[in-house]
Structures are given as structure tokens and as C-alpha cells.
């Protein structure tokens, strides 16, 4: 009869974390910038239908890097959670904090109990009245939940892109300028040019309308980069 080898828990967790981190580091980067105009999310995505950035609720957006099916599962669960909460209580009761907590619990549970941890890194952004009150939460593959900065990059080339953008993006920078800077930084880190229609965007616009999420049109993107 064969006996399973003893694996110390430290080793087990480390192996799992290494595995998940490798998956995430392969993901194409997403730039998230909270500015006066709103919260802008930019990523390279050659598929027009498999989205990495999505609307969760009136003022909340979601973005994920890593394995598509895994963060898509998380996005759908988040939309259900938000709609259910908003329907049962009131729209204003749906907050990024509650959602981020739920994601954190879920990812933590999957990390330690499932056969394979999720290879994802996600961000939940909530638009407030002013940029100082905006809330950005980042949740990692193991459920680690952190407050994210107004300028956050997920995925491959995280440090480099953040460094480049920190110099060129301030909270009063207009949205089109931020978009162009984010594209330039992503292209620079990838060391190649990206087609104009291969950008995926999400923009929580700081307006009084109920649903603030929209995507930039190709015309807007082209104009911003000229």
C-alpha cells in the first residue's frame, strides 16, 4: 500500500500561490485610473465579446486579469449579488465594499479548498461624488483584499506601467489624455503597437445619471490618441 507523502502546509500554500501568480502574470494588463472625470479602465483585448471590464451596478465596475472563465464566473456572481441586493433593499445599499468583501471570502475559500486556486487578480471600483471619495478594491487569487490606489495596474508589466503613468497622470488630467497615456504605457511595456480597435475600455463617468458605466467609442479613442 502506498502512503501519500507528507507536504507541510507552508509548502502547499506556497506552491498554490506560485501557480496562481504565474497565471496572473501572463494576463494582459489593465490600467485603472480614478480622476476628476470619473474612473477609467483600459486594457488590450482583441476580442470584442469576451470582456475583462464590466458594469456591476450603477456606480460600480469590475475588471479582472488571468483566466477568462474564472474572472467571468466572478463577474457574473458579482452582478447577481448586486442586483439581488439592490432589488431587496435599495439601490444605494449596493456598495463596492460589500462586494469586495464577498469576492475576498469566495476567493479565499477557493484558494484553500478547491483542487486548483483561481488564477485571477480583480479590481472593484466605485464612483463617488469626488475623486477623493472613490473606492478601489483589489482582490487577489488567495482572497487578499486591499485598498487600491487611484492609479492601479493589474497583470503583466504592472510595475513598469505604474511607474510610467505615475509621472503623467494626475487627478485633474482629462479623461482622453489619461486614456492616451495608458495606451502608450501598455504598448511600451508590451514593446509593440496595438491596433486602435483592440482596446477595451470601461468608464464610470462622474455624472448624476443613475447608470454611470459606459464604454468609449472607437471615434473617441482614435481622437484621444491623435
Amino acid at each position: 500500500m502506498s502512503m501519500p507523502f507528507y507536504v507541510p502546509p507552508e509548502q502547499l500554500v506556497k506552491d498554490r500561490a506560485d501557480f496562481a501568480r504565474k497565471g496572473v502574470a501572463r494576463g494582459k494588463p489593465i490600467v485603472v485610473a480614478a480622476i476628476d472625470d470619473g474612473i477609467l479602465l483600459v486594457s488590450e483585448n482583441s476580442s470584442p465579446s469576451l470582456r475583462k471590464i464590466g458594469e456591476v451596478y450603477d456606480r460600480i465596475a469590475f475588471a479582472g486579469v488571468g483566466r477568462f472563465n474564472e474572472f467571468e464566473t466572478l463577474r457574473v456572481a458579482g452582478v447577481r449579488y448586486a442586483d439581488l441586493k439592490g432589488y431587496s433593499y435599495a439601490r444605494s445599499d449596493v456598495t463596492a465594499k460589500g462586494l469586495a468583501n464577498a469576492y475576498s471570502q469566495t476567493l479565499g475559500q477557493i484558494f484553500s479548498h478547491e483542487v486548483k486556486p483561481y488564477e485571477v487578480d480583480i479590481i472593484v471600483a466605485e464612483l463617488a461624488a469626488t475623486v477623493d471619495e472613490d473606492k478601489l478594491f483589489r482582490i487577489q487569487y488567495d482572497g487578499t483584499l486591499r485598498d487600491a490606489d487611484g492609479l492601479t495596474v493589474l497583470g503583466a508589466g504592472e510595475e513598469e506601467i505604474t511607474r510610467v503613468l505615475t509621472g503623467s497622470v494626475a487627478s485633474d488630467t482629462p479623461m482622453p489624455v489619461v486614456f492616451a497615456a495608458a495606451c502608450d504605457a501598455i504598448e511600451r511595456a508590451a514593446d509593440r503597437e496595438i491596433a486602435p480597435d483592440a482596446w477595451e475600455t470601461g468608464f464610470l463617468e462622474r455624472t448624476d445619471t443613475r447608470r454611470t458605466f459606459r464604454r468609449l467609442t472607437l471615434a473617441e479613442m482614435t481622437a484621444a490618441r491623435q
Binding site: G54, V56, L74, R80, D83, K85, S88, Y89, A102, R211
Partner: protein
Amino acid sequence: MTSHTPVGPLRIGEHVADASFLSILQERGMAPAWDAGVGATPHLAEATTVLALTWADGVLMAGDRRATAGNVIAHRRVRKVYPADEHSAVAISGTAGMAVELIKLFQTELEHYEKIEGARLSLEGKANYLARMVRGNLALAFQGLIVIPLFCGYDEATGTGRLFSFDVVGGRYDELNYATTGSGGSEAKSFLKSAWRPDLSREEALKIAVEALVAAAEEDAATGGPDIKRGIYPNIVVVSAEGVAEIQDDALAGIAETVLEGRP
């Protein structure tokens, strides 16, 4: 097992048959349900006349503001017409409490579908879904708790405004030029029959809608006309290629005054 709490942990890979919000509610035993039992139903607030008509660039929906319970005016400022999403509007007549819940569910449903699927439902799809929701209340309809909606929207596929009417069994009917429902509906319809013509401008359509409601209010006790002294005006939503727009009271005040002055 079902749970009655909406804010439990996130459910990953939860089995829900489709992209429908109602399915989630049903899965968790949270779907709105009324069990009236047998016997007489109490006098509940009822919402009355609503109408919809097409105009040159889209459709328009209007409703009076009165809700009645038996012979009592229950509410004077009820809203019966609501935007359903960016390109459609829904109006209700019948048991007010149920109707308002139905609309809230319908609005959530359209938004939920759009977020999950990344695309809006077609206008036809929305109308069919609403018919399914009405059909779900059939047992209650036979006990007197009736909810009948009207639905209209701008069809992005064909570039036209379309209207749909419904009946208690969930029958869905395409209406050509105008449609009405509620206790004052037949009166409003006979007015629209003579006043409606193709290619109405937005202003003309607004005026005709208010006139039709005034005509209904004159004949039907359960329909409230514009009340200038109290500042109560009909509730109107216009849908066109630009999306839905609710007409504000100050714009309606002028129209209502003109209409009332012109009445014989």
C-alpha cells in the same frame, strides 16, 4: 435549499437556468408571490387609465395619476408610466401594489440581462418576457387581482417605435397606432381613434395624449384629470431613437391648461 437572505456569500457557479433575474429569485425562494386564498379580495388600490401612441419619431406613453380603492380615491399622485430601460417604457393598470412590484422586477430584469449577456434584449424579447410575467399572475387575476401592462419602445433593429398590449393570460398583441388599458381605457381609445393621425410631431402627440386622458377622466370616475390647483399632471414618458425621456411637470402644466381651456 433556498435562502431568504440576499446578502449571503457570493455564490460561485450557482445553477441558474438562464440570464434571468427572476430565475435567481425563484432559485432562492425570493420571487414576489401573493397568495390571496379563496373568498372575496379586499378593496385594494387600483391604477386606471394608461395609453400609448406612436408619433413620427417614436412612441409615447401617458397615464393619469389616480388610484382608487372601491369608491374611495386612494392616491392622487400615483405613477403609472415608467421607463423600463434606455429604449423602452412600461405602464400599468390594475392592482397597484402588485403592478409596482412587477415593474420593479421587469426593470431589474432588463438591466440584469444586459449586464450578464453584454447586450440588450431585443424589443420583441422584452415584450415576450413581460407577457410571461403577466401570465405568472393568472391565478390571482381570477381572484380579482389583475395587472395589465402596456409596453412600448424604440426598436433599434427596425428604427421604429412599437407598442404592445397584453391580457391576463399573457397574450401579447402588437398594436399599430395607439393602445389603451384600464377603466377609462375605452373612452381614451375612442378619443384617440378620431384624433390620431400618422406623423404627429412630438408636441402634437403630447397634446393628444393629455386630451385623451382628460376625455377619459370626464367619463370615468376612477380616472383623475389634470388638477392645476394642486399641480397634479399626467405622467408621460416619450421614447425615440435618443432614448427615453420623462416629461417634466412644468412642461405639462402648459399643455394641460391649453387642453382644459379647449374642452367644451
